[in-house]
């Protein structure tokens, strides 16, 4: 319950800051009665009103089947997963799709309970297979990065 209140308070704060920013939006010249700031301001006010109400009466959280409250181990793993994702995104163009997705797939495979061998095989198959499928067949351009000298 306390976490939810903290979250709602943060949401409220963010909305307030955004509202202050939105208040400054002004069209240099305008040919319509509603400017660019009315609509976001209206919504932010409504969100803040709703959040305030929830802050005082948060209600109960119903857990889905098989879900439990988080403990420290899960939280650590989730942080690790997000970090992996971020590194993947950062390397995406630099190292190119094949290399970065190979590393990402291996580590993610390990994180999700695969053995080293299985994750490695999965990584090789996925990085090359998806590159071939998307870049060559489906015409979705993907960066080659450090492998760009191999362009064929």
């Amino acid at each position: 319950m306390i976490y939810q209140r903290v979250f709602l308070a943060v949401l409220l704060l963010v909305c307030a800051i955004l509202a202050v920013i939105a208040f400054g939006y002004h069209a240099p010249f305008s040919y319509e009665p509603v400017g660019p700031r009315a609509y976001p301001l209206l919504l932010l006010t409504l969100i803040m009103a709703g959040t305030l109400y929830l802050l005082f009466r948060p209600g109960t959280i119903t857990l889905g089947e098989g879900d439990e409250h988080l403990d420290r181990h899960v939280l650590a793993k989730i942080t690790l997963c997000v970090v992996l994702f971020t590194i993947f995104a950062a390397c995406y163009e630099m190292l190119g799709f094949i290399v970065s997705s190979f590393g990402f797939a291996v580590l993610m495979g390990r994180l999700y309970g695969g053995t080293w061998i299985a994750s490695l095989i999965g990584g090789v198959l996925m990085s090359i297979g998806f590159y071939w499928l998307f870049d060559r067949i489906l015409d979705v351009p993907l960066p080659l990065g450090i492998l760009s000298s191999l362009e064929f």
Partner: protein, 502 residues
């Protein structure tokens, strides 16, 4: 009766062996493309236009191919919604609500077959609807001005909050967040940059694909991590793959209602399919949810949005063909394909080139039929996705997701944005905020603001225009009803518990 003969002609063209084979290939390709998260009908159709052109297919065959790919993608999107809880596109959001719980109960096969069957009924109803109402439809779509649209959007949002039952306020807040997110980016009316914080990546607004994949795909990956940690395995679809007669009969009335709603809302250009599936789901929940099974794996909750969806897919062809107004990204791409073949959609198309119009309608119908013929035997294969262990499935989903996001702008900024949205989505999910509401709010948001501002521009700032036509009055009355009814019901329930307690 003229329309009937045209339709017959259309079917004559569509049922030649070559065209039937094309439709079969189209549905197969469409299903596979739609199955990949982040790639939807837009990609599928856009992918095949140059191929169709390069192969030198005659216009009617090309149209059949495109219609088949369109419907195939729609159906493929259902597979990932139901089995993985990742909706590929906006109109599949409602499918996850009851589809995913069904898959978690091991009824993935039944859910997929009900979904295919419902889509078929929806498509069938809409085809019949187009034949009967075609002349009336154009005028109905034109009768919706900006003010009417705005009222309709408000109605949809209110419905959404009312639908949530036990947490209307959280749903409302989530929908507002979605509505707000749509205002990020350059304001098309005044050119003011809103909430971009000087970032070039945000100046274009938040892309739909980035939002949907962040909210659903990334947060689902994190939830799967929790489950792996606890040693849970995916629940495999077992036993029957097909629904039985009893289940089919139990959703039949739902199918009929969903088809009607889908068809009429699908005609409206704009958020037709999304609105249709949302409204169909909500009204079905209103009518049938006495035991509170909706959202926990009720077949009717799956059938309603599915029927509405496919009915509106056919319905959305109407504004495209009669007004030349594409109702969605996909119809916009198809519009492009039509112009490639020197066919100009617009008011005169029905008079000048009826064979093309009815050929397209007939091919939609054929594509629907093909889907059910082809996909029902393949359901067993699709449900095998659930048998893939997490260590292979999750990296695959993650990488395909990243490709889908990267394909939008080819910038890594979108990848970072997706991760951020995913983390926030995961937190929101933990606190019981419905993510589907955010997504629907986001889709309706842009249209809502545009229409509000357009309406007020017309009236020069007078709010009276929002209440000036009979359609407006009707929609506002329904909105009021939607707000009052749940309150009344809650009040009566409280009264009853007080009485029972006393």
């Amino acid at each position: 009766m003229e329309t009937l003969s045209y339709l017959g002609q259309g079917f004559g063209v569509a049922t030649t062996p070559f065209n039937l084979f094309t439709a079969l290939c189209g549905t197969l390709i469409g299903t596979i493309v739609g199955l990949l998260p982040g790639l939807g009908p837009i990609n599928g159709v856009a992918l095949l236009i140059p191929i169709a052109f390069a192969l030198g297919l005659p216009p009617e065959t090309a149209l059949i191919l495109l219609a088949a790919v369109y419907l195939g993608c729609e159906y493929g999107g259902r597979i990932s919604s139901i089995l993985l809880n990742i909706p590929g596109e906006a109109s599949a959001v409602m499918t996850t609500l009851d589809g995913y719980p069904l898959a978690r109960q091991g009824k993935g096969g039944i859910a997929l077959s009900i979904s295919a069957w419902s889509s078929f009924i929806g498509g069938l109803m809409a085809t019949i609807g187009v034949v009967i109402f075609a002349p009336l439809l154009a005028s109905w779509a034109v009768a919706f001005g900006p003010a009417e649209y705005f009222a309709l959007m408000v109605f949809a949002i209110v419905c959404l909050a009312g639908m949530a039952g036990n947490k209307p306020l959280k749903t409302a807040v989530a929908a507002m967040i979605g509505l707000f997110l749509s205002s990020v980016g350059i304001d098309s009316n005044s050119g003011v940059y809103r909430f971009t914080f000087g970032s070039l990546g945000l100046s274009d607004g938040i892309q739909f694909v980035v939002l949907v994949l962040g909210l659903f795909s990334v947060s689902e990956i994190l939830v799967l991590l929790e489950r792996t940690h606890r040693g849970q395995k995916a629940i495999q679809a077992s036993g029957r793959m097909l629904f039985n007669l009893k289940e089919g009969a139990s959703v039949f009335l739902t199918n009929l209602r969903g088809g009607a709603i889908g068809f009429f809302l699908g005609i409206l250009p704009g958020a037709g399919a999304t609105l249709a599936s949302a409204v169909a789901y909500m009204s079905e929940k209103r009518i049938n949810d006495q035991e509170g099974t909706f959202g926990k794996g009720d077949l009717r909750g799956l059938a309603a949005p599915e029927t509405a969806n496919s009915a509106s897919a056919c319905g959305s062809m109407v504004p495209m063909l009669t007004l030349g107004v594409p109702g969605s990204g996909t119809t916009a791409v198809m519009l492009g394909a039509l112009t490639l073949y020197n066919i100009t959609p617009g008011p005169l198309l029905f008079q000048n080139q009826p064979d093309i119009v009815w050929g397209l309608i007939a091919s939609l119908f054929i594509a629907n039929l093909m889907l059910i013929v082809m996909n029902v035997p393949m359901i067993r294969i699709f449900t095998k996705i659930l048998a893939v262990p997490y260590w292979a499935l999750v990296p695959a989903i993650a990488i395909i997701t990243s490709i889908g996001v990267y394909a939008v702008h080819a910038t890594t900024f979108d990848l970072f944005l997706m991760i951020a949205i995913g983390v926030i989505g995961y937190i929101l999910r933990k606190f019981d905020f419905p993510l589907s509401a955010i997504l629907l709010g986001f889709i309706l948001g842009g249209l809502m603001e545009q229409n509000l501002r357009r309406a007020l521009s017309i009236s020069n700032g007078d709010l009276g225009i929002l209440f000036s036509s009979p359609i407006c009055w009707g929609v506002w009355a329904l909105t009021a009803l939607m707000i009052v009814l749940p309150m009344l019901r809650g009040w009566r329930r409280r009264l009853r518990t007080v009485r029972a307690g006393g």
